[in-house]
Symmetry: C2
Subunit: 242 residues, 2 copies
């Protein structure tokens, strides 16, 4: 059944045409400098509270040791630019981002503070909490769905730090991680340690959208629509000049 806001249906329709265009660009601000930050992030899907399907969250992943984590904790306002080539559509999503690391990470308290304090103005995060949504279960599920090569990337030294030892050192990093067997057992203690290391660095990035600017360059005349979340927890829209 088709449901959710019209911009979400448009993204799903565009991705059905061009399922390769999952690379988005996330901009954030580091409050200590006047320089904006932007990097590529792969879209991993929507998470929608069952009590209000009008409020889907956008899901991404990261390494909790990257600078975007501290930037987002300092200032959760983000904007995403997303060009879906096969559909000739641009989406610009403005919203509030949350980082969800392993519960034993010191940064996890920021996530709890954000969601438990209802700072999202009774939005999707609060609804999911009331529905009993388990973010740690979700984090582990998303991690398991990653390729063995991606999993290995979270075992490296801190991303963006100087490469001590050079390429020779980098060649010692695991290339891909081995999965546990059906009984949850590993073929070696080392493989278990790598899996746990990667999982401890793996974090979810969740964006709760407040504004979506949707530009369609396929039709003539081109179309542009602004959607914004209103106080009733649904979406208003207005046609704009492209």
């Amino acid at each position: 059944m088709v449901q959710g806001p019209r911009w979400k249906q448009a993204i799903e329709t565009a991705l059905a045409v061009d399922d390769k265009s999952v690379v988005t660009q996330l901009a954030s601000i580091d409050p200590t400098t006047p320089i904006p930050h932007v990097r590529c992030l792969i879209f991993r899907g929507f998470i929608t509270p069952s009590t209000n399907t009008e409020l889907p969250l956008l899901l991404f992943t990261t390494d909790s040791r990257t600078p975007k984590t501290s930037q987002i904790i300092s200032n959760p306002h983000v904007q995403l630019a997303w060009w879906i080539e096969g559909a000739k559509e641009q989406y610009r999503v403005t919203g509030l981002a949350t980082i969800i690391p392993v519960p034993t990470n010191g940064l996890h308290k920021h996530f709890l503070h954000y969601t438990q304090a209802g700072k999202d103005n009774n939005g999707a995060m609060t609804m999911l909490r009331k529905e009993g949504f388990d973010w740690e279960v979700k984090r582990q599920e998303v991690y398991r769905g990653m390729s063995p090569y991606m999993k290995a990337s979270w075992c490296r030294p801190i991303p963006g730090s100087p490469l001590v030892g050079g390429e020779e050192e980098a060649k010692k990093w695991p290339v891909k991680l081995e999965e546990p067997n059906a009984d949850g057992e590993w073929s070696s203690e080392e493989n278990k340690r790598l899996w746990e290391t990667a999982l401890s660095h793996f974090a979810l990035v969740v964006i709760d959208p407040t504004d979506v600017d949707y530009v369609e360059l396929g039709p003539l005349p081109n179309r542009r629509t602004r959607f914004w979340r209103n106080e009733k927890g649904s979406w208003s829209e207005e046609a704009l000049v492209p």
Copy 2:
């Protein structure tokens, strides 16, 4: 002859593999809000001073009536994220942006102030000025190189403003602009007026890079290199953990 900084050669090599990946994402800050801004911009090439080929500028275009113009004039610090799919490479370019509108536009004085005051620390903009580079000639040349459909896009009402009159009104916008003939004559006064309107809204966006973060996801182990412009007007580089 191959010349210029290694990151520029890498971009050129990647685009030779995948010449469709010219869509980049430019992040900027609006000093009046804590929300970063990011949108897609098409890369239009490099402009390099002949007196120092180590200092290439990156060229883009825009409508001078868009919000990015005032954002960049208020705060020229920008960052660009660029994923070149066919090469599996991400470039993040940090730098200072300049908007170059038609000389009769009130905003043109900001461009003159920026370049003539040597605010770029004797960088590429100052070098080009000393070399007699004519930005208005360049602006018109880039405009002429745009497709007739793109040219028509600069005749619309202010981008991002409410669509007064709806789709019916939008259908009255020109779809493509007609070129003047070889003698510079138009087939009608209306076609001349449209051409001049579009040219008056058309602006160059030039980024003078200070830092480039280059990630190669093709080779194993993956590579990441940071380049930064040093005080001698050339580039230093350091290998980082991807």
